[in-house]
Amino acid sequence: MKVLVTVKEVATVDDEFEIAGTEIDDRFLGADLNEWDEYALEEAVQLTEDGVADEVVTVTIGPEDAEQTIRQALAKGADRAIRVWDDALADVDLLDVGAKTAILEAVVAEEEPDLVLTGVQTGDDSFGATGVALAADLGVQWAAVVNELELDADAGVASVHRELEGGVEELTDVELPAVLSIQTGINEPRYASLRGIRQAQRKELAAKTLADLGLEDDDVAAELTLTDMYEPETETDVTIFEGDASDTAGQLADLLRDKGVAQ
C-alpha cells in the first residue's frame, strides 16, 4: 500500500510584525512544517512500521526554499518527496483550495496512492478544505478531522474516529482509496533522529513544474484574490498591567483578591 502525505511549509509570524500591502513583511516571517501535516506524516510512517503500508511519499506545493522543511519530513521517515512549483504560482498571493486541489490531483494521478493523508488545516491560511476537495475531485471517499485510524487493507476499509465539537467523536467506516484529513493528537510525532537526518539527504526529492504534471497556468488560476490585510481591532478594553514581573504579579494578585477568588 502506498500512502501520499501532503506536507506544507507554513509561514510563522514574529510577535512584532509589520504588514506590507497584502502580506506580512518577509522580515517578520519564519517557516515551519505545518503542525497538522506533522501528525499526518507520523500516521503514515507508523503504517509502514506496522507493515500496512510499504511506501510513504510526500507532496509539497512550494518554492525551492521549502526543501529544508521537506527534508525534515524525509528525516522523520517519508521515503521520497515531490515538490511542485512554477513561475505561475510565484505571483499568486493566496493559493486557493481549487488551485491546490488541481495540482494535488495531478500528482495523485501519477502516483496512484491507496491512501492520501492531509492535515486538517494549515497554520497560515487555514482553509481546512483541501483534503475533502481533493477527494471529491478524484471521486474517492474521504473523512475530515480524523483523530483515530485503523486500516483493514484486505477489506479495503479505513475505520476512523472523527473529532466533532464538544468532546464527541463520530465512528465512521470509509471505503478505500480515500483521503483523510488528520487532526493533531492522533499520535505522537517523532523527532528526526541524527541517522534520519543523514539519510534524508540521500532520499529522492523530485521537483516538478505545472507542465511536468500536464497542467496549464489556467488550471491554477486563483478564484480568490487577497485585497486587504490588517491587524484585527480589539473588541474589549483590555487593562494592561505594566512594570516588571513582581509589579505585574502584584497587580494581578490584588485584582484576584478584590474579586474574592484568591486569598
Binding site: 509561514a11 510563522t12 478544505a129 471529491a136 475505520s159 464538544g166 464527541v168 487577497l226 491587524e231
Partner: protein, 319 residues
Amino acid sequence: MTDVLAVADHRRGELRDVSYELVSAGRELADAAGGELHLAVISGPVEEYAEKLNREGVDAVHTVSHGEEFNHDVYTQAISQLVDALEPGFVLAPNSVNGLDYAPAVATQLDRPLVTDVVGVAVDGDTLEATREMYGGKVETTVEVDAADGAVVTIREAEWPPAEGTGDAAIEAFDAAIDEAAVGSTVTGFEEVAGGDVDIADAEVLVSVGRGIEDEENLELVEELADAMGATLSSSRPIVDAGWLPPNRQVGQSGKVVTPEVYIAVGISGAVQHVAGMKGSETIVAINTDPNAPIMDIADYAIHDDLFDVVPALIEQFQ
C-alpha cells in the same frame, strides 16, 4: 437577484446553535445580494427541525428526509440537487467539523469557488467580499471572490447572532434522489471522550496553560500556581495532544466549554477553537509575551511578559 441556500447543522436529534447563526448570516448575505433566503435541513427529524428554523427572515425551508444522522455523501448529493433546483448564488454552510466534511465536496461538484471560516460578508455586484483570518488570528484579511457563477461559503461559529422571532417560511419537502451506491462511508456510532477526576466546567477559577510552557517539566510551575490560588488547572489543546494533561482538562471547541469567574490564560495564543470554549468566562486574564496574540482581543486584563518570570512572582504573592 441572487438567492442564498443555507444548510442547517444538527447532531443526535438536536439542531446545533450555528444553524440559527446561519439564518442571520444567510439573511445578511441575501439582503446584500437582493435575493431570498432558503434553508436546507437534511436527515433526522426534518419536519421538527424545519419548524424550529422558521425564524424571521427565512423565505423557505427545504427538508430532505434521509437517514438519521449526518452523512457527507448524502449531504453532498442533496445539496447539489437543491442547488440545481433552486439555483441559489450562494451556498452557506457552517465551518463546523461536519461543514468541513461536505462543503469542499459541494464546491468541487458544483465547480464553484470556496471560501471557508468566514467572519464577515459583503456583496458588490458579482463580487463577494469575505473577511477571514490568517496566521491563527494574528491578521484579518479581505478576499474577493468572483461570484458570477456562485460560491460556497462556510461561516465561523458564534460570529453572527442567532436569528430570533417566528417567520412565515414555506416548508417544503424536497425529494432528493440519493444514489446509495455512491455512499461510500457509514457512520457506525458516537463516542463521548472520557470524563475523569475533575470537571473543569465546575471551577470558579481556572489557571489554563498553553504551548508557551514549552516542556512537560515546566507544567509543575503552573500546577503550583493553581494550588497556591486554590484554582483548577486546565489547558489548551497542544498540552493534551502531547499527553501532558488528560483530555478532560482541555478547553475549547473539541474540549470543554467553561464559564468560570476568572480564567487565567498562561502562554495561550487564543486560537478561535480555544476561544470557543472560554469566551463566556466572566473575567479573562492573559499572560503572554506576544502583545498581538488574539487572546488579547477578548482579555479583560493582560500582562505582556514572560510567563517564566510572571508565574513564579504570582506564586509568591499567594504563599
